[in-house]
Amino acid sequence: MLVLEKNTMTEEIEKLVEKYGNLRSSLLPILQEIQSVHKYIPDFAQQEVARLLNIHPVEVYSVISFYTFLNTKPKGRYLVRLCKTISCDMQGKQAIARAIERELGISFGETTKDNKFTLEYINCLGMCDKGPAMLINNKVYTKLTPEKAIQIINEIQ
């Protein structure tokens, strides 16, 4: 990371600490905001959060590694998360998965070369009556068909 980038990141985190307070209980909301801006939580950010909240960086890492929605490695700008739990599975999640994989040319767990899309599975989204369902970043899409799923992805392209 360049010094300039580091400085901006420090400033960014200082603002977050100001917003949520420097208590340990602010840790999750701060990490969530970093994640939503950068799509991951870089090492340097972890160190800065630890410094400003006065906890050990290992603690920060340990919290990040616990939660599915937080990650320490870069992901694509659009995180496509398809529900794989039972109700969506019965409503044809498999066909959706295959169609998206074919279209993007990657498998689940991978990111496209241009860093635009990452494909992942997720557990029940609370949309079981309208499955198959997926989240793209924070937006939820329901009653998918292979065609509809691809159309949604192409609109983002």
Binding site: L28, D129, K130
Partner: protein, 396 residues
């Protein structure tokens, strides 16, 4: 939308924002606690603990600060009733939280919203703003100088175990969402070590109606031990999936008729952590005294392969175990291995029976509800569908 909103007699019955708060403020704390005790309301998250007991304990605790937490981390597969309440009936939830704050003497409320529902956050926050404008939230609520109460919304980050109340509190405090040893209980030592009540979204909604319309009215619905109505999230093989409000104690067969389920072979009650019932048990009732649940109903018709269903559930638990205690961390992996062995035809009944025993050990020895309930589908599916599962595997 396939939702059944507005179609029930209790939760979905008529209500106008603020009414119940206004009424509660004319009552003493003891009167409120008595009314809730009279109603025999039990927690709607699935565990079924009497709401009044929880509230009485934290009301009696002496502390400078107390907290009211709304558990909106609904992550049980097949459950989405809270989504409907949060989207369409926020007045029921927040008014219930304000009443809770008044009753136990708390000034702060926190909604722990599951990360998957982040898209609801903005809408809920602007609703809270409206409540402030109407003096239903903030300082001196409805001009009662002694009562300040505020609610904030915090997001989860994709961990099913955080639906367990002590794991939820850990998460709010900025730690990994790992369940705590109990005692001490949150009613005494909860968020930041202060007395805290954690209730499900639907429980708060029920309280609001009980305060407004009285416990006698509430008890008209349901059974003697399971009073009131319950929201059921129905998915799987049926014509009309969605959220239904039905009286407690309804028979499974009746529910299947209402939702248009045909050729039903099995019903999973209570989501992945619940139990799977075969046709012969469809006359059982959905109530705390018979088949309890947090409301998830997943329907399987004749075409479904129950071993695949079980595999899906066990994969879920392997991923969602917090890993803190051995029975759950290792046990779930062993049970999933067992399922895979049956699938490939590489098993002995001796070993499968040992795994069922392991499941029973997990139910007893796991630290929190996740590991205590994760063997439920394993045991119930292998027992109730043994013919299908083992006879088919011989042919493969």
């Amino acid at each position: 939308m396939t939702e059944r909103s507005g179609n029930g007699k209790v939760i979905f019955s008529e209500y106008r924002r603020g009414e119940a708060i206004k009424k509660a403020l004319t009552m003493t704390r003891e009167e409120i606690l008595l009314e809730i005790r009279e109603s025999k309301l039990k927690g709607r998250g699935g565990a079924g603990f009497p709401t009044s007991t929880k509230w009485m304990l934290s009301a009696a605790a002496v502390a400078d600060e107390k907290y009211v937490i709304c558990n909106a981390d609904e992550g049980e597969p097949g459950t989405f009733k809270d989504r409907l309440l949060l989207m369409e009936y926020p007045e029921l939830i927040f008014d219930g939280m304000v009443i809770a704050g008044y009753t136990i003497g708390a000034k702060k409320g926190i909604v722990y919203l599951r990360g998957e529902y982040e898209y609801l956050k903005e809408q809920l926050e602007s609703y809270l703003e409206q409540m402030k404008t109407d003096n239903l939230l903030g300082k001196a609520i409805l001009n009662n100088k002694e009562f300040d109460f505020d609610v904030i919304i915090r997001l989860g980050s994709g961990a099913y175990v955080c639906g367990e109340e002590t794991a939820l509190i850990e998460s709010l405090e900025g730690f990994r969402g790992e369940a705590r040893n109990r005692p001490p209980y949150p009613v005494n030592t909860g968020f930041q070590g202060k007395p805290t009540i954690v209730n499900n979204v639907e429980t708060f909604a029920a309280v609001t109606h009980i305060i407004m319309k009285g416990s006698q009215w509430f008890k008209k619905y349901g059974t003697d031990k399971s009073t009131g109505s319950k929201l059921f999230s129905v998915s799987g093989d049926c014509d009309k999936p969605g959220v239904y409000e039905l009286p407690m104690g309804i028979r499974i067969s009746e529910l299947l008729k209402i939702v248009g389920a045909k050729n039903t072979k099995a019903v999973q009650v209570g989501g992945a952590s619940g139990i799977c019932l075969p046709k012969s048990q469809f006359e059982r009732t959905l109530a705390y005294e018979d088949v309890p649940s947090g409301g998830s109903i997943i329907i399987f018709n004749e075409s479904r392969n129950m071993l695949k269903v079980l595999k899906n559930f066990m994969e879920f638990f392997v991923e969602e175990s917090c890993g803190q205690c051995t029975p759950c961390r290792i046990g779930n992996i062993k049970l999933l291995e067992g399922v895979n062995m049956i699938e490939s035809g590489n098993y002995t009944f001796k070993y499968i029976n040992q795994l069922k025993e392991l499941g029973k050990t997990m139910q007893l020895a796991s630290k929190c509800g996740l590991g205590q309930s994760s063997p439920n589908p394993f045991i119930s599916i292998l027992e109730n569908f043994s013919e299908e599962i083992f006879n088919n595997s011989e042919e493969r």
